[in-house]
């Protein structure tokens, strides 16, 4: 399988919606948003039709291109888990409710259960597996570790990625920011106090790291 060049790939609409923005929008008035999306899509170049059979695609995961062949209906989370053995991110609700599948795509946190694998092409995808460099823990993982920010651990990979994405965008968050920034992830074990402490610790450390060069 040869990897296609970007220009040959179906161009996803540039909607400008972040994941959380999208969800918020739906909550406020799905009718208006629906129309908006349709218009945006219509304005984009007519996409090439793929499928219904399996199609070869290339994903850029943790800095490495990987080739795989998937049905166009396969989501990013299923592609990662079933085709690439990247099982850190979990499929919990499969409907953009819990955040257990969170990865960072083109610098934005996304629910991998709600992104099609074919649409994830040409974008840099960061997953929990790519977070640590060498044997050193990433500051966010380290902060979860230090603050016992998990119990069963099933939400943890998603939460760690959501926290990383959040801190990347909000390097000096307040406690209120943390609450709203992580409202899209869910922990049934109720480890929110630990997570809150972890985010604040990680933000401090990551800022320090940037400053120190």
């Amino acid at each position: 399988m040869s990897s296609k060049k970007d220009s040959e790939l179906p161009v996803p609409p540039k909607s400008g919606f972040s994941r959380r923005g999208f969800i918020r929008g739906v909550g406020i008035g799905s009718g208006a948003l629906g129309t908006g999306l349709l218009e945006t899509e219509a304005a984009a170049a007519a996409p090439a039709t793929l499928g219904p059979g399996p199609v070869p695609i290339t994903l850029n995961i943790n800095g490495k291109p990987v080739n795989l062949t998937v049905e166009p209906s396969v989501t990013l989370i299923d592609a990662m888990r079933n085709y690439l053995d990247l099982t850190g991110a979990k499929r919990v609700c499969d409907r953009a409710t819990c955040g257990a599948c969170t990865v960072i795509m083109a610098g934005k946190t996304v629910y991998a259960c709600t992104v099609l694998a074919i649409d994830a092409q040409g974008k840099n995808i960061e997953t929990i597996e790519g977070l640590a460099t060498g044997s050193a823990l990433h500051p966010v993982s380290k902060a979860f570790y230090d603050n016992d920010a998990q119990q069963c651990g099933y939400c943890t990979p998603g939460f760690v990625m959501a926290c990383k994405g959040f801190i990347d965008e909000h390097p000096s968050p307040t406690e209120e920011d943390v609450k709203h920034g992580l409202g899209g992830n869910l922990c049934r074990c109720g480890t929110y106090m630990g997570i809150r402490k972890a985010v604040l610790q990680a933000a401090k450390e990551m800022k320090g790291a940037v400053k120190n060069g």
């Binding site: 049905e71 888990r81 079933n82 053995d85 099982t87 850190g88 991110a89 979990k90 499929r91 919990v92 609700c93 499969d94 409907r95 409710t97 819990c98 257990a100 997953t127 929990i128 597996e129 977070l131 640590a132 823990l137 993982s141 380290k142 979860f144 570790y145 016992d148 998990q150 119990q151 069963c152 651990g153 099933y154 939400c155 943890t156 990979p157 760690v160 406690e175 209120e176 943390v178 609450k179 709203h180 992580l182 409202g183 992830n185 869910l186 922990c187 049934r188 074990c189 109720g190 480890t191 929110y192 106090m193 630990g194 997570i195 809150r196």
Partner: protein
Amino acid sequence: MPEATNERVYGPQYKLIGKNYVTTDLLAKVTGRSKYAEDFRAEGMLFCKLLLSPLPHARVRHIDAREALAMPGVKAILTADDLPAPADTLTDNGTVIKASKWGERGLTIEPVYQGEPILAVAAVDELTAAEAIERIQIDFEPLPFVVDPLDTLRPGGPNPRTDGNIWTTPPGATGPAVKELKWTEADFAETKSGRLPMGKTPDEWSYGDLDAGFKSAALVLDETFVTPDVSHQTLETRSAMAYWQNGKVYIHSGTQSTAQTRPAIARWLNMDAEKVVFISEYTGGGFGSKITGGVTMIIPALLSKKANAPVMMRISREEETFIGRARPGFQGRMKVGFSKEGRILALDMFVISDNGPYDAQGDSPTSGRMVSLLYQPQAMRWRGVTVLTNTPPRSAQSSPGGLQGISIIEPIIAKAARKLGLDQVAIRYINCPEGKAQYGPLVQGQMQHATSAFLKDALQRGAERFNWQGRAARSPKRIGSKVRGVGVALSCYVGGTVGFDGLLVITPEGRVRFQSGIGNLGTESVIDVHRAAAEVLGVAWEKCDVVWGDTSKHLPFTCVSGGSQTTHAMTRAAHAVAMDARQKLQEIAAKGLGGAPEDYTVANERVFRKGSAGMTLAQAARRAIELGGKYDGHEAPADVNKVTKASIASLAGQGLVAAAKDNYPRDGMTHSYVASFAEIEVDVETGKYYVVDFLAYADVGTVIHPRALGGQVLGRSILGIGHAIGQKWVFDPHYGVMVAKRFHHNKPPTILDVPVNMQWEALDTPDPETPVGARGIGEPPVGGGCASILNALSDALGDEIFRRAPVNADTILTSLEAGRPVQHPLMAHI
């Protein structure tokens, strides 16, 4: 409230007990490397999908799977016909418990709830399996169904199962049986006034003079209250993967007990437990829904046998909503008589527990015991009935029966305090259990009693820390459309069992290896309890290893992690095995170095006499292997369980093998307690409210691992808070199907629902009836979490807002407008 500090030192006399540390499994969790059942892949692995019943009660007349089986990639189909007959249970004392004919088997030809699995198909991938399911034709004969317990109790009401509608244990029977119970029209006359009808119940107990109590009471309240059915919603569903090798079945799935899931699987598959290997290193939450995993895990196991390939069964969130278990909702009524000082003189409790269609749950009788212990009524009667319905199966959920009982009584106490002009903390203080507090029902004519209760201390210290006086003085406070209210609630639950085994190996390298049969569901007890043994042996934690999560790794007989048993039961077993190891070390040293065993001390990783270097643990372990017999596991203690004996035999020769049963005496039944405090802010224009502050003050005996304890106290408080602020089931009574079945319809609390500064604390007063002093904690915070919020709401808004939980914004708005509770007072699942 001041920010929690970690300065408090628990157990100053200990090196390990009461100290924070990091469990060995944590690194894998924060890096995504921890493997849960769904994360395993095997060569040639097939995927299976389930066909779920669309009807709440039906009989399968005919299955036509020809088209599905002809599809390329479809490998096998499994129906109820393929299931082995469930085996009887042989208990440790030799009693045979017959397999229940009403039991759940995983697949069925008579579905008794919407979503019950009827068959499964294995195929090369999930898409093919799903498509095959679509092509199967089933001819169903619809049967009568019922979703509200009251509807089946009505004269002429439909029965949820062909044999009846309630669970009851007939006198002399070994287990509960399904029977029919109908109440009279006269019983139901009560419903006209919105009160729960109280017909005949199969179960009832009482103590004291109820009538005299009510007669002398200064205030009598009689209230009806409905508690919600809430799904467990563990983030990891009950997915399972299975394969066979050399006649043994290997199953990966989540569980709350590694050790006890193996015999459960053996029973479901009707095969020898020796031929079952169960692997569960990580479990994505249990809360009572995975006590010994789920019976559905036999589906991939049987399909794997048929198709001769590993089979993965991924359970989707929607499937989990049906098959993943839930707490039984209660329709309850309680009449309480108070003295003018607020003391409870008489309490008459009546509950209907919605059991779903399968195994009898203990929530209803437990609720009576918890209320009796927690508020110490001078006279009490409890009546209850466990009713079957065609709604998804229930199982114990964190504080089973405790949450429901506490949610029914707490709002009544809050109301009584307002009517009698008493402080909310004061009225709880005078009813609070203390020391070896007694409770009902009578057993052989005697009240039962707790091992200990220090809840009065927790209530008092909690009130100080929360600044209860200050907050209560200014509450309810209204600013603009916002009203603040404060609530306090007591809570308790069973806090431990006894009689399990500890097992450890001191290796020739001088390390101490603990064999742990505890499930790793996130409570950390799988590792924590062994610190009690390391403490006794005086071994540095860095020299210890814990083996867990795989029944082929020689695990001892262990309690299930349900009902807050583990910390108590397994620190006792850990203490016992450490004493056995110490004894063996002393004997080995005396044999080699002279003198008597009792001359020797075990500390600092050595066994030595005064003034001599003695032996290192490594040397003693090598010596144990030379000596053989009881020292290296070639002989096992007579009183340990047969499971432990088999594990000892497998470990024999690996080093010094220590094993012991917890035979420590115990006077009373172990319980743990929490006092919970909450402040909320309600916007009376929108009905929306927030929890502003929360504190749970725990009485759990000796603190073993503060961080893990705090996680449990707050986490389970949040689970309880979910019951107050919004979680419930909604059913369409006409079709008997679930309406709010998506995750987003019924979301557990998120970080947005909990206060920024939620706090916990623990007394750290040892329980006198257990060697380490520690009790369990999983359950007690739940009832306190729910009830403190309910009480804060009525503090803010008055007593005419709600008669059921959860309390949603629409409840508040409609009740405020009408000046009385508007929601239906009795109907289930609205």
